[in-house]
């Protein structure tokens, strides 16, 4: 065979292989991907320019429904992002911290404690919760490290190529069009409007008595699950090694008799963190002091609505600035519009939810998706004044 023929053949094979690979990547990223609010949030984090964030918040829904980065920027001037995922596992928290170290050098990393407060270790092996976070991480040493140490051999390819797991999602169209379009629009826009914030427009409806008023005096402790405590120590070791400025926080919840043990475990975790030299803000215990009204400021027992989130954001932001010394870096000019949009979108979302709740309408998933963002256009983005 002539040399020229060999070259031609190689080119032809390469064209074929590249077409298939490119198609698979496009399918994997846009069309056959399990896109939800977690995906958009995590992807948005990687769209933030390197070293552009002053603070990163890591945790589960407890934090992404509680802290409003747009509000914090507007009121306190620091940029932040919620690298959070629904029911994130303790391994997820550790990997998230590693990813923050790899991509950003924020002034502070805030970790919401929920992942360590479960009564058992079940959440850490919940495949759905693991996938929700890790599927959306780009391939990196940290992700591979997680896969190698935590994923059964037979399932590893699925974490590297999520298309293997989600290729059958074509049967779920057209229902998935909104999230697919949201993913596409996020990529085109290049940044996440809400910086990871998500809420539900609803005021809690429950007959269970709220015990929040008792929490400020609650000093009782309960042992953490041994595996989760080991994971916590592992995380703290990592933070020590990298000299990270990390604080832990426990966001307010509508605490009932059934969930009371979590408060005690939170107290225990606070002591463990303090002993290792890390600050832990037990804001769950301070909910009354913050001004969180249990009858008005939650959408369910575990999450605050926009009313509670606004108060919490202001309170925590002040703590971080005045107690932790968080300083806002000067924002690069090309990022100013991006953050102005974030402020506008956050205020619009607040008014949208306020409007719905005042009309007793419920909307789950007021978030970064195309349908919601289009609706937000009808609302004012002016500053929300605290009452």
């Amino acid at each position: 065979m002539k040399f020229q023929d060999k070259i031609t053949r190689t080119v032809k094979v390469a064209i074929f292989l590249l077409s298939v690979m490119a198609s698979c990547l496009v399918l994997q990223h846009y069309f056959l991907r399990n896109v939800d609010h977690n995906s958009l949030r995590v992807e948005g984090f990687y769209q933030e320019p390197r070293d552009s964030l002053d603070a990163v918040f890591i945790g589960a829904s407890d934090i992404y429904s509680s802290f409003m980065p747009g509000r914090a920027y507007e009121q306190y001037g620091f940029t932040s992002y919620l690298l959070a995922s629904e029911a994130i596992t303790s391994e997820g928290i550790k990997t998230a911290v590693k990813e923050v170290v790899r991509t950003q050098h924020p002034g502070i990393v805030v970790i919401e404690a929920n992942a360590f407060l479960y009564g058992d270790n079940d959440n850490d092996s919940n495949q759905a919760h693991i996938h929700k976070f890790f599927d959306n991480l780009p391939l990196s040493v940290n992700k591979l490290d997680f896969i190698t140490h935590n994923v059964p051999v037979d399932e590893r390819w699925e974490y590297v190529f999520p298309l293997i797991k989600y290729h059958s999602l074509w049967t779920e169209y057209p229902d998935r069009i909104n999230m697919m379009a949201s993913n596409l629009s996020l990529d085109v826009r290049g940044y996440n409007y809400l910086k990871g914030y998500r809420t539900t427009a609803q005021i809690i409806k429950t007959d269970s008595p709220c015990l929040n008023s008792k929490l400020s005096e609650e000093n009782g402790e309960l042992e953490l699950d041994p595996n989760l405590e080991a994971q916590l120590n592992d995380l703290l070791d990592y933070c020590d090694q990298h000299h990270l400025k990390v604080v832990f926080v426990r966001a307010p919840h509508y605490v009932t008799k059934e969930t009371y043990n979590r408060v005690k475990r939170s107290n225990r975790m606070a002591r463990l963190c303090n002993e290792r030299g890390y600050h832990y803000y037990t804001l769950e215990n301070d909910a009354e002091h913050i001004g969180i009204d249990p009858k008005h400021d939650f959408y369910d027992r575990d999450h605050m609505n926009v009313y509670g989130a606004l108060k919490f954001t202001d309170y925590l932001a002040e703590k971080l600035m005045y107690l932790e010394g968080l300083e806002a870096d000067v924002l690069k000019e090309d990022l100013t519009d991006n953050w102005k949009d974030a402020v506008t979108a956050t205020n619009q979302l607040y008014r949208y939810c306020d409007d719905l709740m005042s009309k007793s309408k419920e909307v789950r998933g007021a978030q970064e998706d195309v349908v919601t963002l289009v609706t937000l256009g009808e609302y004012s983005g002016a500053t929300i004044k605290t009452k």
Binding site: R9, K12, I15, F16, S19, V20, S23, C24, L27, L32, V153, D154, E155, W157, E158, F161, L163, I164, K165, H167, S168, W170, T171
Partner: protein, 544 residues
């Protein structure tokens, strides 16, 4: 299993890729076969290391017995040469007969040992259960214990292949392999260990031991065949398996229409699954320059059940023909019986002359299919499956002149497309009745199903029952379109038996080839049933 390395996993593709690199870059050409041996052993160890003892035992006994047989043959030939002038004809005949008996004993030893293991592991519990049922029926208190037995991966396939080799050495059709490792490679060659094809030593062994250089066209054709195998297995077979498994799990509660639909679907699934798996095996072997035998030739286009079995699982049919059918049909007992019948009053009639001529063939066929049925599993339903096919074939052989006469009297042109269509349809019906015993959980359920075909049809109920299984309408669309693709490909192959679609594709412009292969790959990626969301079905024939 250390990790999943079955044919439809990325692990397997990765494994093949690495094997390709090592094999083609291996510097010592003479010892390239050792790469295949190493990866075959690795593959078997990964897929079922707990069962490695059995395959090693078979390889070792096969190796020793083959050498022993050859040694006895060699010695006897040498002695006969030496005593050529010394011995008279009778002495030579007597000696030859003694040697033949000795060789037969040695061969029988290997057959009993290896088929004994297979039979024990596969059928012990079946026999124990049946015995207990019979004794219980007579009120005997004895109860044979049932054991927790496992079936080593590919045991049927490698046992049949090894024993075929032993018989060939016994018949002096092939020389015994002197190198035990080379023999181990013949027994354990990884692309065929899971579900065949059952190769003949003379056809396969030398290909395994020869050093093959990288050949782009072979690699391309091999990969295309693998792709075609994946298409059939992942898009059609595993999708259809969702329904079939659901019905099998709750068989008694399904009505006649649902069961009819399931049997039809099973015909599609079984063909797509088995032929798809064989295509993957053959494709992988082809990449390494090794041609495994074809195992399927569009069996559902067969015009008779006899032809169907020449087109379906060809390697098993070939094995049965060589090592069971001929020895039985040509045995003294059968030939004598045929001759006796020919000499009788019945044998003097036209029908009797035909029957006495074909009777050995007909009865041997029945025995072969009884064995084929039993080979499929340890259940009376498989005996029924074998008997059904055997009886139909026996009757078709015995009554052939009657059928031919009827066709002639009716002035039917045998090449008339409608008549051909009728023959294909008739054969398919016979095949489908056989499949009932595959799908039904027991013989009695199989008989009930056949009765329901005629008395229990209720289309509305069938649609409702199948609809509840949960396969989406989109899945049915994919199933139909993919099955049509296979049908069209089969028609093209049937019309051009001297070539294959891959060679035909080679003659098309690059853009056409690119589009065809691209669509095939992307169809598998998107519509294939794989990943942990599904409990991917094992190959149906893996269990045999």
């Amino acid at each position: 299993m250390l990790f999943n390395i079955s044919y439809t996993t990325l692990n397997f593709l990765f494994f093949v890729l690495v094997t390709m690199l090592v094999y083609f870059l291996f510097p010592a050409k003479k010892y390239k076969w050792t790469v295949l041996l190493a990866v075959s052993v690795f593959f078997y160890a990964v897929a079922g290391y707990k069962f490695a003892f059995f395959i090693l035992f078979t390889s070792l006994t096969t190796y020793i017995v083959a050498l022993w047989l050859e040694r006895v043959s060699g010695k006897s030939k040498k002695l006969l040469k030496e005593k050529k002038k010394e011995w008279d004809r009778d002495q030579k005949k007597k000696y030859k007969s003694r040697i033949k008996t000795q060789k037969r004993l040695i061969m029988t030893l290997a057959l009993v040992l290896n088929f004994g293991i297979l039979a024990f592991l596969k059928y012990y519990n079946f026999f124990a259960g049946s015995l207990n049922d019979i004794l219980g029926g007579f009120g005997v208190g004895f109860s044979a214990p049932t054991l927790k037995l496992f079936l080593p991966l590919g045991i049927s396939f490698y046992t049949f292949q090894s024993m075929g080799y032993i018989v060939d050495v016994y018949r002096e059709k092939t020389a015994a392999q002197k190198n035990p490792f080379k023999l181990l490679l013949f027994v354990s060659f990884f692309p065929q260990i899971i579900q065949g094809p059952i190769s003949i030593y003379d056809q396969l062994a030398n290909q395994l031991y020869e050093p093959h250089a990288f050949d782009f066209t072979r690699m391309k054709h091999g990969m295309e065949l693998i792709l075609w195998g994946f298409f059939k297995k992942l898009i059609i077979a595993d999708r259809a398996a969702i329904i079939i498994t659901a019905v099998e799990n709750d068989y008694a509660n399904y009505g006649g229409s649902a069961l009819t639909f399931t049997i039809l679907l099973y015909a599609i699934q079984l063909y797509a699954d088995f032929s798809g798996g064989i295509d993957i095996s053959r494709g992988v072997a082809q990449i390494f320059g090794i041609d495994l035998m074809e195992n399927f030739k569009r069996p559902y286009f067969s015009k008779s059940i006899n032809e169907y079995w020449r087109r379906w699982h060809i390697s098993l049919g070939g094995w049965m023909k060589n090592y069971v059918f001929y020895p039985v049909a040509m045995s003294n007992v059968f030939i004598t019986a045929g001759k006796k019948m020919k000499g009788s009053r019945f044998g003097k009639t036209a029908a009797g002359a035909h029957v006495s001529k074909v009777l050995p063939t007909a009865v041997a066929s029945l025995i072969v299919f009884l064995i084929v049925g039993v080979w499929h599993g340890d259940n009376w339903k498989y005996v029924a499956f074998g008997l059904w096919n055997g009886v139909i074939i026996m009757l078709s052989i015995l009554m052939q002149p009657l059928f031919d006469g009827a066709v002639d009297k009716l002035h039917i042109n045998r090449k008339n497309p409608f008549f051909v269509g009728f023959q294909i349809f008739r054969t398919l019906l016979v095949v489908l009745v056989g499949y009932v015993f595959d799908v039904a959980p027991s013989f009695s359920e199989g008989m009930r199903t056949i009765a329901l075909f005629f008395t229990g049809q209720n289309v509305a109920l069938g649609v409702e029952q199948i609809g509840k299984i949960g396969l989406l309408p989109q899945d049915y669309c994919v199933l139909i379109v993919a099955s049509l693709v296979v049908l069209v490909a089969s028609i093209i192959q049937e019309r051009h038996p001297d070539t294959d679609i891959r060679t035909m594709l080679d003659q098309k412009p690059y853009l056409v080839r690119l589009v065809v292969l691209y669509v095939a790959v992307m169809s598998i990626v998107i519509f294939g049933i794989y990943g942990s969301g599904y409990n991917a079905a094992d190959f149906v024939y893996m269990q045999f």
